[in-house]
C-alpha cells in the first residue's frame, strides 16, 4: 500500500490521523523530515510525519509540503 495519494495537486497521506507506524516509517525514510515545535507535536514517536513541520493538517489527514505530486 502506498502512503501517499495526489488530490487536487496536493500530496496527501493515505493513513489519515491514525496510521502511526506508517507515518513513522515514512519520516524515517524522508530526507526532509524536520521536527515541528514541541507544542505542535501530535504523537509520541521521535520521528513521524505527524510531528513534521512540513505537514499541513487537513480535515481527514495531512498534506506533505515537501513531496511533489508524481
Amino acid at each position: 500500500m502506498t502512503a501517499w495519494m495526489e488530490i487536487n495537486g496536493k500530496t496527501v497521506f493515505t493513513g489519515g490521523k491514525i496510521a502511526f507506524e506508517d507515518a513513522a516509517r515514512e519520516a524515517e525514510n524522508c530526507p526532509f523530515f524536520s521536527e515541528d515545535c514541541e507544542d505542535e507535536l501530535f504523537c509520541d514517536d521521535e520521528t513521524s510525519c505527524y510531528n513534521c513541520r512540513y505537514r499541513r493538517w487537513t480535515a481527514e489527514s495531512f498534506e506533505c509540503m515537501k513531496r511533489c505530486p508524481k
Binding site: I18, E21, A24, D36, C37, D39, D44, E46, R53, R56
Partner: protein
C-alpha cells in the same frame, strides 16, 4: 491594565512558530518595562482547505499587564512588522481583561472560528460589536491573522480550554511532592485525572518527568496519573522507535 494579547499567522514553514514569536515579543516588552506577561495558551482553530494556515491553524494568546497601553500596543505592532516571517499574514489583538466587560459576542466569534471558515469582515464586525476597547490590526500579507488573533483572545477571555505552551520541568533535587506543595510552587490551580475528574485529595506525587499543563475552567490544570502505584503529573516523553498506538 490587564490584557489578553494574541497574535496569529506570523510564521512560515522555516521560521519560528507563532507561540515562540509571542514569547519573544513579550520578553522584549518586559525588558523595555512595557508589560509583564503570563503563560501562553494554544487554541486550535478550524482546519479547512479554504483557510490559509501554515500547518495547524492554532492561535497563541497570553495574559499581560501593561503599564502604558498605547506604548505597549505600538511596540507589539512594530515587533510583528519587523519579526513576522516572509509570506505570513500577521494579525494582532489586544483585548482588555476586565471582569466587568461582557465578552459574550467575542466568545461566540471565537467558537465560530473553531468550527467554520470566517472572514476578516467577520472579525471586524465582532470587534465592533464588543462593548469595550479592543485593538485589532493587520501587519503584512493579507492581514488574515486578525481572525485567529481575535478568536484566540476571545477564547482566552471566555476561559475556554487550551493547551499551555511549553512543558513543565521537574526540579531535579525534589522528586516527592504533595499536590498542595506542587500547586504552590508551580502555580497549578487544579488537578484532574485522565478522565477529567477533579482530584481534591492532597495526594503525594512524584515529579520526575516533564509534563504538559492545560488551561481549563479558567485555571492552570495538571493531569495526574497513577503509574505502577505512584501518582505523578502525566509524563510527556517522546518515544524512540516505539509506537504510541
Amino acid at each position: 491594565m490587564k490584557l489578553f494579547v494574541c497574535i496569529d499567522d506570523t510564521d512560515n514553514y522555516d521560521s519560528i512558530g507563532t507561540g515562540e514569536l509571542l514569547e519573544n515579543m513579550m520578553g522584549e516588552a518586559a525588558i523595555k518595562g512595557l508589560a509583564k506577561s503570563g503563560f501562553t495558551v494554544r487554541y486550535q482553530l478550524y482546519i479547512h482547505e479554504d483557510i490559509p494556515y501554515t500547518s495547524h491553524n492554532s492561535s497563541m494568546c497570553c495574559t499581560a499587564e501593561a503599564t502604558d497601553l498605547e506604548a505597549f500596543t505600538e511596540f507589539c505592532e512594530n515587533y510583528l512588522e519587523e519579526n513576522s516571517a516572509e509570506g505570513s499574514d500577521p494579525g494582532l489583538c489586544v483585548l482588555p481583561d476586565d471582569e466587568n466587560l461582557d465578552y459574550s459576542s467575542l466568545i461566540a466569534f471565537g467558537k465560530r472560528a473553531q468550527n467554520e471558515v470566517l472572514t476578516k469582515k467577520d472579525a471586524y464586525d465582532a470587534a465592533e460589536s464588543f462593548p469595550g476597547e479592543i485593538h485589532l490590526s493587520e501587519h503584512g500579507g493579507t492581514g488574515g491573522g486578525i481572525i485567529g488573533a481575535l478568536a484566540g483572545a476571545a477564547l482566552h477571555a471566555g476561559k475556554e480550554e487550551g493547551r499551555i505552551k511549553g512543558k513543565l520541568q521537574p526540579l531535579l533535587n525534589k522528586p516527592g511532592w504533595s499536590l498542595s506543595e506542587f500547586a504552590s510552587v508551580y502555580g497549578v490551580a487544579r488537578f484532574i485525572d485522565e478522565d477529567g475528574n477533579e482530584i481534591t485529595e492532597n495526594l503525594s506525587i512524584r515529579f520526575v518527568h516533564p509534563t504538559k499543563l492545560f488551561f481549563s475552567k479558567g485555571q492552570v490544570t495538571a493531569v495526574i496519573v497513577n503509574e505502577n502505584g505512584s501518582y505523578m503529573p502525566k509524563p510527556k516523553i517522546k518515544k524512540n522507535k516505539e509506537k504510541s498506538q
